[in-house]
Symmetry: C2
Subunit: 435 residues, 2 copies
């Protein structure tokens, strides 16, 4: 995935040599240090296909067969076995002795409590350099012609080009997984959360149910949102409404507050369609007895009674349980990209961008993360480069809990997360500088 | 329109007698004073069909033939002529001597400077009472069965029922206009902005390019957003992508920063599709030479080179200029409904909800409106019930300007609005009480 983002941005930065001049091409610098990316990837939250164990974002059959963890953890064979131990669930971080992650970025992860053999989260973090060619600067603007709405040419900002490059990277990655599936019978899918820093701005791209927040001077700034059957209800319903053949006569695009019973035919029932945010009444017809495209709430929300995450990569072969109906047409590989301008605020060493997979957020609120940021960082020296890893470890431990009462329990005795948990902590004004 | 909203809410409040019991039906009070509605309607901003003079939201051929203004203006035949005078553009308000609008709501309007014979904005404001029948309270909840995502029944709030009723009212109104078109050859369409107060909450429903803002203690709270080819780009592109037959081989769903020239075939050009917010490059193919579904910026943005507003009522017969391609499939009659809870804040007499048609907002920013609210209301006695009409008049005058230098000019010498302008000012904590 990082390679895809890197090549997309590289393509953007280095373009301009061979191809013909482009309209009002924004001039990106010819040579730039770009972009560090820190993408944690997690398999989709396991719905009906939990336990299939086929969810890792595999590249080839070979890669899928051998369990691996992020290179920067520098795990020995023994370390790899300990990281893989569901009973101990030891928290893993890059070694103190090794090379630090860029800008002293902190990282920690822990394996699940047994739901799958291996940790299915994946992560990487790199600084990459892109050599830009000297651009043939923009062709002279042609005089406007035709309809009046063309009288001015639309402005295209640098920022929207980077956003477009990241969006395309996700799409290309998804297509690459489709090709590899055909060649190697590779199954499964994953969600993806990617951070790119380029020219003073942080781009956070999310497709799935991972989450990124900035904690700045105690304030929480959401940098992503989750894509689930609930948050994407109207997109999914609209697709089912416009392309009813995708519902295969098995599902209805309408939503009801509960399953409609055959005996209720002809009676009135609350419903929502693709255009509505509120509820209204309709008379139940035969088609309404079909299973709804979207049902359930919160962690139990499902699309086509199968999947709980509606954006991500892969899953080209996923089908409705006990049916041949494909689910992929409803899944989107496009991320939502949010941009944060680092130059608009004087950041201190305690301001951080926190990325976590669903294992963290299932049991931890944004406010709890902000409280942990404050507690851990205020206890460390501001210029101690290990403070962000200490914070990532504290967040992972806080979501995992400790083994007690036949399970992993949090201090409040609630269940901790039994899922894989991965956390990046990227300092926004820390010891490493972005210059 | 008001009748539609009234009957939809009445239906909601009074339902429960005859029909069979509904699932987890929220119990609305059996009798309630509901809902005052203040909907200003304006014809869509005139694009290619400007000057056609066919835009008034007509009910019948008869209604369309005779020019009328809101009943509450109590205009005499002479007054009606003055209101209709494009040269004088006299500001109209309800007479001081007559019955005030509910809660001392202020209103003012002015006709356009000549773009159409009559003022095509329409408005009404009423308190309506709905008699509720005693409801057969909810049937016992059935035990859950089937898939796990059905284990709990979805909660349906009172609020979401009111929102659903308003959404349906817009849809039914649009269908009613379709029926009347068939019967009476009625053309044209309009946008609609509706405010409903019910049980402590204000519901603002908008479909089109009117706008509502709350000004509270100087702070601006947007209560609507405009629906234009720019703000609805992705919805329109998605529809064109999924239903290419709606583009008739004349349009492409892709967006380009400017019109693609035939000589650019095979070259690279920036584009955006229905999934993207950023821009990326593609090689120009033959299909890309078609006219884009969405083009232009700001007031010049157009869908199918024809229309600048993408939600509203009517326009069932609208077609692309010099083509038979219908536009209606891309127009949505569904409003976005925002809810403001009046009980969450102690409102003072200077806190108001301001509604305006595009004639106001074309030349007036939210901040300028807030400044006028402060200036006018602070110069009036807090318990003077005419202060909200004075404010509405000041807002209309400020957008109209004065005749000077061959046009209507604002104090800064920029052009005032030549469009019809209508403004409601609804006090949130004024002399009239919501109890």
């Amino acid at each position: 995935m990082l390679n895809r983002v890197r090549s997309a941005v590289a393509h953007l930065v280095s373009s301009g040599g061979a191809p013909p001049p482009r309209p009002k091409s924004p001039d990106l610098p010819n040579s730039t240090s770009a972009p560090p990316a820190a993408p944690p990837q997690a398999p989709r939250s396991p719905p009906a296909r939990a336990g299939s164990g086929s969810a890792a974002p595999a590249r080839t059959v070979e890669a899928r067969a051998s369990f691996c963890r992020p290179t920067f953890l520098q795990l020995s064979p023994g370390g790899l076995r300990r990281a893989d131990d569901h009973a101990g669930r030891a928290v893993q971080s890059p070694p103190d002795t090794g090379r630090r992650l860029p800008w002293s970025t902190g990282y920690a992860e822990v394996i699940n409590s047994g739901k799958s053999r291996h940790n299915e989260d994946q992560a990487c973090c790199e600084v990459v350099y892109v050599e830009g060619r000297r651009s043939v600067s923009g062709a002279p603007r042609e005089p406007s012609r035709g309809q009046s709405c063309w009288s001015s040419q639309k402005e295209v900002t640098h920022e929207s080009l980077v956003v477009g490059a990241i969006e395309n990277a996700f799409q290309f990655m998804d297509e690459q997984m489709a090709r590899e599936r055909r060649g190697h019978q590779v199954e499964g899918g994953c969600c993806a959360l990617v951070v790119v820093y380029l020219l003073g701005k942080v781009y956070v791209a999310n497709a799935g149910d991972s989450r990124a927040i900035i904690v700045r001077n105690g304030e929480i700034i959401p940098m992503s949102r989750e894509f689930t059957p609930e948050t994407e209800r109207q997109r999914l319903q609209m697709l089912g409404f416009l392309k009813p053949e995708l519902l295969g006569g098995e599902f209805t695009h309408l939503e009801f507050p509960r399953r409609v019973q055959p005996k209720e035919l002809g009676q009135r029932m609350l419903y929502r369609d693709q255009n509505m945010t509120g509820w209204a009444y309709k008379k139940i017809e035969l088609e309404d007895l079909r299973f709804p495209l979207v049902c359930g709430e919160g962690k139990k929300a499902r699309m086509m009674a199968t999947i709980g995450v509606t954006r991500g990569l892969g899953d080209h072969n996923l089908r409705v349980c006990s049916s041949t109906l494909p689910i992929k047409p409803f899944l989107s590989s496009f991320p939502e990209v949010r941009v944060y301008d680092l130059t608009q605020y004087e950041h201190c060493p305690d301001d951080v961008l926190v990325l976590g997979t669903d294992g963290l957020w299932d049991v931890t609120s944004d406010c709890e993360v902000a409280a942990t940021v404050d507690r851990v960082l205020s206890a460390c020296e501001p210029n101690d480069p290990s403070r962000y890893t200490a914070l990532a470890q504290a967040l992972v431990l806080g979501a995992r809990g400790t083994p007690r009462d036949r399970g992993w329990r949090l201090p409040n005795n609630k269940l901790g997360s039994g899922d894989d948990i991965s956390v990046f902590v990227i300092p926004l004004g820390g010891p490493g500088s972005y210059s």
